[in-house]
């Protein structure tokens, strides 16, 4: 005799069947439109800040790609910046290597005896970015083989080590200019032209990343990496191809970071290993901080976090007079201590209905006792 079989009406079930993943609402559409308009109009309204806003889009990309692996899959990497640097070097080497000898180019003191034609420049950038994306992904697959056996802190420290080590190794590799770096082929046009060109690419890449991830999270892949985050051993016991999912997620993250690296190198005009390509304690930690600030494991959290972080950083930087890095560390600590769940996470707790999350308060109270017992005191 079972007394609890729910007799749900067909209508209820119809309505419920589409809710596993939230559909696009009007709010979403408004948000997309606003961002698109801002993205297109911004460099026209604020021409002096084109570079900063382009970097902002890269920051958004950083936070999103970190969140794919860290937030959605629960593998907290401290070394994702490795793919940024790898992409940067692959892109640069391609841009040069397509047309001249890389060793000779990098070993000459000014790097500039070789003149790139306009055509060569654009071909170089196009091929370079494609190879950067592919190369970074291939590296991710190869490294994934090693690091995805590591769990928790070992994964975080291992990836940190990879990024640190990569900077050192590239610094000792004379063929790519060693610690002295490489001057990037010069943009064949005006400074403004260059700024707009790379602005468009940065914005496009960030939007493409967002759209791709949005789609990705709506497929089985999204649920699978969430499952890995929540309990990997269970996922294994249920037969999920965990290594396959983890490697693909990391490769996707690397793909977009590789492009970002290629773009940023060209925007900067000069690349070197420690400060520009593999800046572990700046960009490397920014991407984590931004994702956490916005709310990790959510679609909009990393975007929001990146925008806020970038604005705060850019506007307050000049007031700290040498203390800016100390301030940055303090911000990260405060963020972690008091605002773990991030902005979107906090909003989800506060207004769950807005996010289509159901909460049963009585149940929460119920389980607190269970949990207190399980976790003990």
């Amino acid at each position: 005799m079972t007394t609890d079989t729910t007799t749900a009406s067909l209508a209820v079930r119809e309505a419920a069947s589409g809710t596993a993943r939230r559909r696009i609402t009007r709010n979403d559409v408004m948000m997309y439109a606003a961002i698109l308009v801002f993205g297109i109009v911004a460099p026209i309204i604020f021409p002096n800040y084109t570079y900063q806003i382009a970097v902002l889009w890269l920051m958004v990309l950083f936070a999103q790609t970190w969140d794919l692996v860290g937030g959605q899959m629960g593998y907290n990497s401290l070394g994702n910046i490795f793919f940024f640097g790898a992409g940067m070097y692959i892109c640069t080497v391609t841009q040069i290597g397509l047309f001249t000898d890389v060793g000779a180019y990098t070993s000459s003191s000014d790097g500039g005896q070789f003149e790139f034609s306009t055509e060569q420049y654009y071909i170089g950038v196009a091929v370079g970015l494609v190879l950067a994306a592919i190369g970074a992904s291939v590296l991710a697959v190869m490294l994934g083989w090693i690091v995805f056996g590591l769990r928790g802190p070992y994964f975080a420290i291992g990836t940190l080590g990879i990024a640190l080590g990569a900077g050192e190794l590239v610094g000792a590799w004379e063929w790519v200019g060693g610690g002295g770096g490489i001057p990037i082929p010069v943009y064949p046009g005006s400074g403004d032209g260059k700024a707009f060109f790379y602005y468009a690419l940065c914005f496009g890449t960030a939007v493409a990343t967002f759209a791709f991830l949005k789609w990705l999270y709506s497929t089985r892949f999204g649920l699978a990496i969430n499952a890995i985050r929540d309990d990997e051993e269970k996922a294994e016991a249920m037969g999920i191809h965990t290594l396959r999912h983890k490697t693909v997620a990391w490769a996707i993250s690397a793909f977009f970071l590789g492009i970002a690296g290629g773009l940023f190198g060209n925007m900067t005009g000069f690349i070197e290993p420690l400060e520009v390509a593999f800046p572990v304690i700046t960009f490397g930690i920014f991407m984590v901080a931004m994702a956490l600030l916005g709310g990790k494991g959510t679609m909009w959290g990393p975007v929001l976090g990146a925008v806020l972080f970038h604005i705060i950083k850019e506007t307050t930087w000049t007031y700290f007079l040498g203390w800016q890095w100390v301030a940055l560390g303090v911000i990260i600590i405060l963020n972690i201590m008091f605002f773990q769940q991030g902005i979107v996470g906090w909003m989800q707790e506060k207004w769950p209905d807005l996010f289509g999350i159901e909460v049963d308060r009585s149940l929460v109270a119920d389980t607190a006792d269970d949990r207190a017992r399980g976790r003990g005191v």
Binding site: G165, G171, A172, E236, I281, W323, W325, G329, I336, M337
Partner: protein, 300 residues
């Protein structure tokens, strides 16, 4: 690189030199490594600013040297002050992340590491510093092997400190409470142990141990505001290889990394020092993974 390898084969005494240097430096790594094993094992905090505490300790010695006091005399001061510093850091920061997931403590201490690095940079500048011990260097085998007296002295100090820590953990009430808390914090609380105090003490003790290690490092090696991260990674290598609560393992692993680094540095060149440490880290992680997967086929 090959030339250097050749040199090692031709001059066997050079190996002895590197081995000795590795062990002297490794003894100090063992202190910081044991400190990390302590906070990791007892309170499950992965302290990524371990190296920064070492460097802070080093600046005590260096500063003493600049005002005309022998750097080694700075050790008691450094230990006491850093103990207090650790206590404050625990109360202000660590106590709020101690029961959160592992990444929280890792990231919070990473943030703290950035603050300390930059703070030291502002206070002392980015130059590489040495605390002058004023002791002499002795030569053996017609000058083929040299041992500076300070290295020997620091080795002895390391041994004394290690023994003191072991005795403390074994016999004192706080030591017992720390061990009990590490094994089962819930049960420890039921026995009336104030685990929060135990955590604070453990964290402060770790800071003090690191500071002592830093004083020694500043005399036999160099310090610089940004050298902390490498020390942190060394500590992680040691704990990963040895596990917690296993002092002989910690010492062995520390000697291992010390020696490996000396040889690595000699063969590959000094500019790849950090890369060598990272390389050792990755090797240890891969080795550990291989070990795990033999025990549990489930892993990947």
């Amino acid at each position: 690189m090959l030339d250097n390898l050749n040199l090692l084969a031709l001059a066997p005494l050079l190996n002895i030199q590197l081995l000795l240097d590795g062990i002297f430096i490794g003894a100090i790594f063992a202190l910081a490594g044991y400190g990390l094993a302590l906070v990791w094992g007892v309170m499950n905090v992965k302290n990524l600013c371990q190296g920064e505490y070492v460097i802070m300790g080093g600046y005590f010695a260096w500063y003493a040297g600049t005002i005309g006091i022998h750097p080694i005399l700075a050790m008691p001061v450094a230990v006491v002050v850093m103990f207090g510093f650790g206590w404050v850091i625990y109360r202000v920061i660590i106590s709020r992340v101690v029961d959160k997931d592992m990444f929280t403590s890792l990231l919070a201490t990473f943030g703290l590491a950035i603050v300390i690095q930059q703070g030291l940079n502002l206070a002392f500048g980015p130059e590489v510093q040495i605390a002058q011990s004023g002791l002499e260097t002795r030569s053996f085998f017609d000058g083929a092997v040299t041992v500076s007296e300070i290295r020997f002295v620091s080795f002895v100090i390391c041994c004394v400190l290690a023994s003191l820590i072991v005795l403390f953990m074994k016999n004192s009430r706080m030591g017992q409470a720390i061990r009990a808390t590490a094994q089962d914090a819930r049960a420890a609380r039921v026995m009336g142990i104030d685990t929060d105090r135990v955590y604070a003490f453990t964290y402060a003790l770790n800071c003090a141990i690191c500071a002592a290690a830093g004083v020694l490092i500043s005399m036999i090696w160099v310090i610089q505001p940004f050298y902390g991260l490498t020390h942190s990674i060394r500590s992680f290598v040691i704990v990963t290889a040895a596990g917690f609560g296993n002092l002989p393992g910690v010492i062995l692993a520390a000697f291992g990394i010390g020696v490996a680094e000396q040889f690595g540095g000699f063969i590959l060149g000094a500019e790849l020092q950090q890369a060598t440490v990272v390389g050792i880290l990755l090797l240890v992680l891969i080795w550990r993974q291989a070990l795990m997967s033999r025990r549990r086929q489930a892993l990947a």
